[in-house]
Subunit: 139 residues, 2 copies
DNA sequence: GTAGCTTTTGATAACTATTATTTAATTAAA
DNA sequence: TTTAATTAAATAATAGTTATCAAAAGCTAC
């Protein structure tokens, strides 16, 4: 039904991008990843990082997160899970709340859309930002 | 605890932006809204639309949606509900699935974040895009 | 191996969405 | 009604991402 899975060659750049993304539990933006990768591959271009993240997401190797905020974020873990985003600093973490499989079926009953999936995103303040806020309060 | 609610004057521009946003069930982007408003207020600037959407969101009159996709979207209905976004055209609609209040409590148990809220976003293909896809299949 | 083709890269330019700045117009208030 | 504050429109600036292109790297068939 979909286009035939386009084979993607694992170049040095792609491998290192993938390795660095897999190392972290957070969900870095393209430019955060660029900084991480550059430590091992100083001459890599930002465009290469963007291009390959996009390609790897298309081929299903990684996940492009459709979360709020201004920047796109990427995730090496492709099994379903939910996220929480810090309203203060924008950081995104996994959250260990069980995935609600019934939601999709429920939704299918009330919409003409052909449903493909769902995602739950919590918003909150991360520990680091909570500390900072407390410091600013006690002037 | 928060900053004192900053009074916001209801100028002609603001009123019309609010009216146009209230008219539609979809959740327009700033520039979609700009086009709608311009029919009634041809000399309004795009910046004015952005500025006032931001202000109205801050003052709680409307909702700024933190959904996926590249553009921000706005919603005149401020009571809690979930959304569905078309993967093909990016359109966002309300979806009539009951809000799961327990989710926030559940999440609070498993994360150091101070939880502020949550949102469920479904992805799918809207009716219009489904029709288009069918047309392209029958070559 | 190496000539010829394809893919990918790095550098850079272009683009899209949004925010900031500035000057003028409106509005409220004294 | 002058005076100060708010807001608007026009425009410039910025952030994040995508597109373009020449050069480099990787294959494939001799």
């Amino acid at each position: 039904m979909n286009a035939p899975a386009p084979m993607i060659r694992l170049t040095t750049q792609r491998q290192i991008i993938l390795e660095e993304l897999s190392k972290v539990k957070t969900h870095p933006t393209a430019s955060e990843l660029y900084d991480m990768v550059r430590k091992r591959l100083p001459r890599i271009g930002l465009g290469t990082v963007y291009r390959n993240l996009e390609l790897m997401a298309e081929s299903g190797m990684i996940l492009k997160l459709e979360v709020g905020g201004t920047q796109k974020r990427f995730d090496a873990t492709t099994n379903e899970h939910y996220h929480i985003r810090c309203s203060a600093c924008g950081k995104v973490d996994d959250i260990d709340v069980p995935v609600i499989k019934e939601l999709v079926a429920q939704a299918a009953n009330t919409t003409p859309y052909l449903i493909l999936g769902h995602h739950v995103e919590f918003t909150g303040i991360c520990s680091a930002c909570q500390k900072q806020q407390k410091m600013h309060q006690t002037h």
